[in-house]
């Protein structure tokens, strides 16, 4: 039914899609790093960063507001930083007491909070774009090129391969439980909380044993094809001149954003 539910890749014909995956990964990491380096309240720099993001959206031929639309799911989690408004530095704007504590909203606190939200929101959009313009296997190749240990990337590759299979199994177990979650007149249904937690634990145990046995079968299949402990893969990616050009362009833009942020 949803064979590609975990597929975040949006294919399109665009210069960004054709970029070497290493360039894309490095760009995203440096973008997020850059955001973290920018001081609070460097609004101009944040604005420039957002322009860069919009440009990236546009060059990906996915629509200017592609990442904007998809960023709202992640936004609430950045809002948990709301307690930053109580930063003790700066001038109090508004005081009250709650939960037995004396709390003061300060001006620097508000600046801190809005800056955090902006940084987070910009970063998550860039991350969304990364997986939208790069097939996941290519991201893994890029990570390998960038010296992430091969064992780790291979584990992740297997994880990705079997993710749908196992989550589908869990989903069907949950559905079977739902089908037997009946109630009848005169009795309180649902069992005790402890019992429900135990049932969930039993399901986890089931899944574990099945997964372990599945990995046995997979191992046998690999051995049958000559596996002896090392995964060998081809490295299809070579950096072209255009890739270097884009990377330089992006680096220059990121540098400009930093300078804008630090000049007061």
């Amino acid at each position: 039914m949803h064979a590609d539910a975990f597929d975040r890749y949006h294919p399109a014909e665009s210069p960004v899609h054709h970029l070497d995956p290493r360039v894309k990964v490095v760009t995203v990491v440096l973008f997020i790093l850059g955001n973290a380096l920018l001081p609070d309240a460097s609004w101009l720099a944040f604005g420039l960063a957002w322009l860069l993001l919009l440009a990236a959206n546009d060059q990906s031929r996915l629509g200017l507001w592609f990442t904007w639309r998809r960023s709202f799911l992640a936004l609430p989690f950045a809002l948990t930083a709301v307690s930053a408004i109580f930063l003790p530095a700066g001038q109090p704007v508004f005081s009250f007491s709650a939960l037995g504590l004396q709390l003061s909203v300060t001006d620097l606190g508000l600046l801190r909070f809005f800056s955090i939200v902006l940084r987070s929101w910009l970063s998550v959009q860039m991350a969304v774009l990364l997986v939208a313009v790069t097939p996941f296997p290519d991201i893994l190749h890029a990570l390998e090129h960038l010296r992430v240990p091969r064992l780790l990337t291979t584990i992740i590759a297997f994880l990705y391969r079997y993710l749908f299979v196992l989550t589908d199994e869990v989903f069907r177990l949950l559905r079977a439980r739902e089908a037997r979650s009946a109630g009848t007149q005169g009795h309180k249904s649902g069992g005790t909380l402890l019992w429900r937690a135990q049932v969930a634990g039993n399901m986890a145990g089931q899944m574990f044993v099945r997964s372990y046995e599945r990995s046995d079968r997979i191992y046998n299949a690999m051995v049958a094809r000559g596996y002896a402990g090392q995964m060998r893969t081809l490295h299809p990616h070579k950096m072209r001149v255009s890739d270097w050009r884009w990377q330089t362009l992006v680096l220059a833009a990121l540098l400009l954003i930093q300078i804008t942020g630090w000049i007061r």
């Binding site: 039914m1 949803h2 199994e169 069907r172 177990l173 559905r175 079977a176 439980r177 739902e178 089908a179 037997r180 979650s181 009946a182 109630g183 009848t184 007149q185 009795h187 309180k188 249904s189 649902g190 069992g191 019992w195 049932v199 039993n202 399901m203 145990g205 089931q206 044993v209 099945r210």
Partner: protein, 253 residues
């Protein structure tokens, strides 16, 4: 090949108002837009044993998932007189025992006892009642000796029978089975057929096994492309070669 909604032949079926199951013009689309049910109407009465046949993708499983409220479509659907809605889902699930095709999907407890007891336990029944229902359900599927066995270690045929027991313990009014004989060797299949023959419960069974249909089910419903295209006596349907072939089925030898 045109899909016809009216039964091709007007055979005399016992008059049934749908006291167990009543569906009127049931429609359903999946979130990705695929229109799976295009207006399904059917009545099932107490004591009926109905086979649901048709090609893959006809919507049989989708329809069955509506019967215990896992999916919700448009149109009318009543189980034992109750309209299927959010608030009477617990009662609906006590009334409809749905058994899925893959028994591994349904056995999620360590022992057979706990799996069969899940339904009654969830219903909040007292312990003595739970125990007697488990015993009764396992007897009905002829697996009373398996109470303390680990579900994990059973064969496919045994798991299928336990899966049936897990819903029997809720004493449903309608038993709905999805491909019960799929994947069974001849001996396990024979055991299953005998079991289904003995169970005195109203049944709706989706299957490709037309030989089993001929043996067990007096009434057959053919579904194709999201609609019911025939609903009649098995004896008449299984001899209508043209009808069978029009819907991807073959006459059993």
């Amino acid at each position: 090949m045109p899909i016809e909604h009216q039964p091709l032949h007007d055979y005399a079926l016992p008059h049934c108002e749908g006291d167990i199951l009543q569906a009127r013009d049931l429609r359903f689309s999946y979130p990705d837009g695929h229109l799976a049910l295009k207006g399904v109407s059917i009545n099932v009465c107490a004591g009926d044993k109905v086979a649901l046949v048709g090609p893959n993708g006809a919507g049989k499983s989708t329809f069955m998932l509506h019967l215990n409220g896992i999916l919700t479509g448009q149109g009318e659907l009543k189980i034992a007189g109750m309209p299927v809605s959010e608030k009477n889902l617990p009662q609906i699930r006590a009334a409809v025992g749905l058994v899925f095709q893959n028994p591994d999907d349904q056995l999620f407890s360590p022992t057979v006892f706990e799996d069969v007891a899940f339904g009654p336990l969830h219903m909040g029944l007292p312990e003595a009642e739970v125990r007697s229902r488990v015993e009764e359900a396992l007897q009905a599927v002829d697996m009373a000796a398996f109470t303390e066995r680990l579900s994990h270690h059973l064969s496919v045929g045994e798991k299928k029978r336990i899966a049936i027991a897990t819903v029997l313990s809720m004493r449903p009014q309608l038993l709905v089975l999805d491909e019960p004989s799929a994947g069974l060797d001849p001996r396990a299949r024979r055991t299953l057929i005998n079991l289904l023959r003995r169970l005195p419960i109203t049944m709706l069974v989706s299957t490709h096994d037309l030989a089993m249909v001929a043996e067990l089910f007096p009434r057959t419903v053919i579904m194709d492309d999201g609609q019911i295209v025939a609903d009649s006596l098995t004896s008449e349907i299984l001899t209508d070669t043209r009808l069978l072939e029009a819907h991807g089925l073959e006459r059993p030898v």
